[in-house]
Symmetry: C2
Subunit: 673 residues, 2 copies
């Protein structure tokens, strides 16, 4: 058992705890009523769980919200945001009562669902159910990995728990099921979830659709499971203590609760899930709780006093850790420096310098080149972790390091299993925890399965790297279910996600460099790689920061004398280049070839640079990309792509059939108006 | 117990069964070797399961592959396609040996993964793991619903089982977990899955990532679970018989198998998962099996004879059903006619005629209008089934019919729970089964969670209707996690999916009519609806078949005298209309307003019509849509949209902040070059 969890929980007198519970309930109903919008039922039903956890167990310091060894708390049932806002406010985070009074209003710190990066103390953006559950798994995994990597005997600088409150809806979602199975497999002992088992979802009682034995399911995943009365503070506290003692597996505490507990008219009813109680019922609730009926947003002085005292204790704990860390730094100065550096989330220049160069000549699949880059980064970066959804070999992301497991908690190669959505959501949690850099990998076509979590990585601006290989019909024989058509463009649609499709091994090095240069606040990067070999071109670049550049054009030809521009990405760049050369030699047509590995980076360049690459006067432009043409009209009046599903046959033959040969591009160019 | 499952299984002599098993194994390794690509290990390991199921249990008639009362078989582990192709060939489907010899080749009937609609007898396209599992749940649900709806005492015209072979990978996927929980909840007794528990996935042994107790998990879902030796034919047959007898819950038979069973050098190894065995190992395998070493694609005469005899028996069963159905038709002529009509999957004109009209005037949220249309369709169409992922009220899809449940198997309102991906995949299965028309519903932003199954519905051209409400930032207070930005466009990217975003109640009627007119082979339709009220416009149309049309322009103005075109969809049409009126009145600018509810339908119109709506000469065009501008350059040189995430605040205020008011559109127009 770690030092942290062997500490006894703080103890609050029952009366004090009860007053905290009522404060949370009334803050929640007042805020929802003021907004005339929101979800009062969940915060009321979960107020005891929240109060016991935050009042007696959670170790954090509201004055140092980024203290690395704080416990993490995830409100996976993000619609119950007022529970979290009330707890943050009471605990002393920079979230004044005025913000609670502006719940769900423009510019407030209290949006409808918790938003990481927007409100201090919110560890993860939640709302899409199941994804918070999975993010918590990633946080706990990061903690265990960092503990295994950095802790030294007697100097345990990483030692904290990850807690969550999860709902019926969370547990119905497949992404949570995937993450739960993985967490059980890995035996994440410091992952502790309280399940708000209130038997109510939006459409009514959960038994309309959900009658499985949740406890038995989680036991089957390898979790420790308990059932308690979620309104019995002592029972919840006892279960939390036992969960902390179970160090070899995650814990689920099924808390039977009543939604809108305390509301005389709406307790237990789905009507309280997503709508204000109404003024009359708010008043009736306050009466029933023995609360001043006319008071709004009332925090009794006694409650303030409890939390003020608690803040002192929390601060002491944090300062004790600081002292502990100082001792660690003295004993292990290099490790300490490394730990702090990677907490920032930025990749040091000396690690970026290890990205290999690829001399022109020969041919190499970009997935293979990506594997070589990754190998170099893994060797240089001690907290780069990641893996694949059971396609590590195919994705080229097999790593020459230990696999992550119970036995090897310091292992950096994560076997996510065939769980794409869970993988991406767990990676969000790893990135949110900090101290590590994270990547995941699968086939591009299966990015569809991950889209919920991809969007959240972009919304939270997390620097996760998503490696997607087998990026076109060139997959070949596996057929249309495995051949991406629309995925490339659909990733480009996600605001904040950078999508890089390198043309060869050299641009692949650039893609990884670009991805690793993006830090927290910049957002995720998707790197799209080929299964098939591509020529390594002398014309290509090893930096893709400009997003697009002139790869080639006939020598000594002024822009005004050019016939037009071929704009291509990835595997189509070499095809376009060969087509342009043929157009010059065989047809006297002088065509510029632009390689555009990253739209987002290109669009961020100054207009002058963009006009240099794609001169406005050159209106005869043809995009060439082995995917949907949709969206390319932005850059090229004419498009050469694939607007239908693929077929099962060898990739080379498909290239003939689908028109992705130099000859086909030449023919298309010659037909342009 | 139903009549069907009380029939004893056919019995094959063990020696005959063993020869079938070896035939399947050798056909699989020969085909993969010939293609030099594919997955030999799974068909070898699952050959006993496949032989017992198809040889002794499956009721179907290869000469009448669409016989409605056939058992359904799903190969959820689609990469083992050669197992299915071998079984189809041997059983007598129109899949000659020559096609097996062209496995994975251009134009063959034997693509890398099974494709429904491409190869006769393939009930569902599989490959993306977990989705076949979920589709089977939909098929079994369709069967039970139709049985409850149409069967009459002594005249059971619907009475068949749904079988599947599922893999480790299937069971790791969240979509399968969602569907499994739902199947257990609903107690689908005629759903019987064989789990190919071979302990091997692509990256190696499954215990790298998957150590849960699968049997206990499925028991927790409410399934009957057994464990057997998957290479022991008698054990598999016994378990199948017991599974058929369990009429109150689905069954999972965990068959412990060895991947590439029979290969002396590669059995039990992940090397056999996704690569040919190699010529030498193929030969060694044949030697070990006592098979002629030089023979390729050998089907012994004795095996042919077994299946020839079986075909006679299957035909007899089918003919018995035909006679049974004739009796049914005599007793219940109207029901019989209805049953047959809905099997076609086309919605009769008299039902379409029931779609209500919405007189202009007033305001109504399109989700509300959609609910009214749905109510009319539900009243008129006896096998229209569907529901929501726990948002029925919010989506406007509450139905005045019984809920689907164990107790009410004829219930048409399906409560899918908070399981978006499972919902869409189950709907695919409902549509694949036939006899029903299907819709599902959730918030537009959560379409991201369903994308894997959405793509499959489009790839299989299934007429599923996907209702997505809360289709823009107008969601309001729920904030960015609930406000779609890129989803609208990302749905348009999926080939074959029609995306309709109606401008008001009138176009909403048109959207539903359009969706219901699409039948099998046409593909799915997504209908995007608002949370907020929209004016019901006299200018809008109740048919949207042309995809886009001129909604309004200043009276008596020739095209050449127009200032340009505002192209809008959904909630932005009324905004654009008001802007255009202001532009005329206040600024003397004559602007046409085009409503474009469905890009796909518009692009299918003749060029002459498209040029009429968007005259090429009118190059000053501005698109107005409350979502990403990405892609709009196809129709409009200028775009007014939302290329960043939303915010939590009342929708009306967000419209001001984000520029979605008539005044903002007017200002934008006046700024156009």
């Amino acid at each position: 058992m770690s030092a942290r969890v062997s500490l006894p929980p703080r103890v609050l007198p029952p009366a004090a705890l009860a007053q905290i519970v009522d404060t949370i309930k009334t803050l929640a109903i007042d805020a929802v009523q003021a907004a005339n919008s929101g979800h009062p039922g969940m915060p009321m039903g979960a107020a005891v769980m929240g109060s016991v956890l935050w009042g007696q167990f959670l170790v954090h310091d509201p004055q140092a919200p980024l203290w690395p060894d704080r416990d993490r708390f995830v409100l996976s049932a993000g619609h119950g945001s007022m529970l979290l806002y009330a707890l943050l406010h009471l605990s002393g985070y920079d979230l004044p009562l005025a913000e609670l009074q502006r719940f769900r209003q423009w510019g407030s710190k209290t949006p409808g669902h918790p938003e990481h990066g927007h409100t201090v103390g919110v560890e993860v953006t939640t709302g899409p159910l199941g994804t918070g559950f999975a993010a918590g798994v990633g946080m706990a995994l990061a903690e265990r990995f960092l503990a295994a990597t950095y802790n030294r005997p007697g100097l345990e600088i990483v030692d904290h728990c990850t807690y969550a409150i999860v709902s019926d809806g969370d547990l119905m979602e497949g992404v949570a099921a995937e993450a739960a199975s993985l967490a059980g497999h890995l035996g994440l002992g410091k992952l502790i979830y309280l399940y708000d088992d209130n038997h109510i979802s939006i459409d009514g009682p959960t038994d309309l659709s959900f009658s499985e034995d949740v406890a038995a399911r989680f036991a089957a995943y390898g979790w420790q499971v308990e059932r308690v009365d979620g309104h019995d503070a002592a029972a919840v506290a006892g279960a939390l203590a036992r969960a902390r003692a179970a160090s070899d597996r995650p814990s689920l505490i099924c808390c039977r609760t009543v939604i809108a507990h305390g509301s005389p008219g709406k307790a237990g009813s789905s009507a309280s899930h997503g709508a204000p109680l109404g003024e009359a019922e708010v008043a009736a609730t306050k009466r029933a709780l023995g609360w001043p009926e006319d008071a709004k947003f009332l925090v009794p002085e006694a409650v303030r006093a409890v939390f003020a005292e608690q803040q002192l204790g929390q601060r002491e704990r944090r300062l004790a850790w600081e002292a502990h860390f100082a001792a660690y730094r003295q004993a292990h100065p290099e490790l300490a420096a490394q730990f702090l550096a990677h907490l920032e989330g930025l990749v040091p220049a000396e690690i970026l310098a290890k990205i290999p160069s690829f001399p022109p000549g020969g041919a190499m699949a970009t997935r293979k080149a990506g594997g070589k880059v990754l190998a170099a980064l893994v060797a240089a970066h001690p907290t780069l972790v990641g893996g694949s959804a059971d396609l590590a070999g195919s994705n080229g992301v097999e790593m020459a390091v230990a696999s992550q497991s119970r036995a090897q908690p310091g292992g950096r190669a994560i076997h996510f299993g065939v769980r794409e959505h869970g993988m991406a959501a767990v990676c969000n949690g790893l990135a949110l925890h900090g101290g590590v850099r994270v990547f995941d990998a699968t086939f591009l076509v299966f990015s569809d399965f991950m889209r919920g979590a991809l969007r959240l990585s972009a919304l939270m601006q997390l620097p996760v790297v998503h490696v997607f290989t087998h990026d076109s019909f060139w997959v070949g024989e596996d057929g249309p279910t495995h051949q991406p058509i629309e995925q490339l463009m659909s990733l480009r649609l996600i605001p904040g996600l950078h999508v890089v499709r390198p043309a060869d091994a050299r641009e692949t090095a650039g893609a990884w460099r670009h991805a690793m240069q993006r830090g927290p606040g910049d957002g995720p990067t998707a790197i799209l790689l080929t299964r098939q070999d591509l020529p390594v071109m002398p014309e290509s670049r090893e930096s893709i920061e400009v997003g697009a550049y002139v790869l080639w054009q006939p020598k000594g030809v002024a822009v005004v004398d050019l016939d037009g521009v071929l704009v291509a990405t990835g595997s189509e760049v070499a095809t376009a280049l060969e087509a342009a050369r043929t157009l010059e030699k065989a047809h006297g047509r002088r065509v510029r070839v632009v390689s555009m590995p990253c739209w987002e980076a290109f669009l961020a360049q100054p207009a002058s640079y963009r006009d240099e690459v794609l001169p406005p006067a050159l209106t005869r432009r043809l995009s060439v990309e082995a995917g949907t043409t949709f969206g390319w009209s932005r850059f090229a009046a004419h498009q050469h792509g694939l607007d239908h599903y693929g077929a099962s046959a060898p990739g080379k033959l498909l290239a003939e059939k689908f028109g992705f040969t130099p000859a086909a591009v030449v023919a298309r160019w010659l037909e342009l108006p």
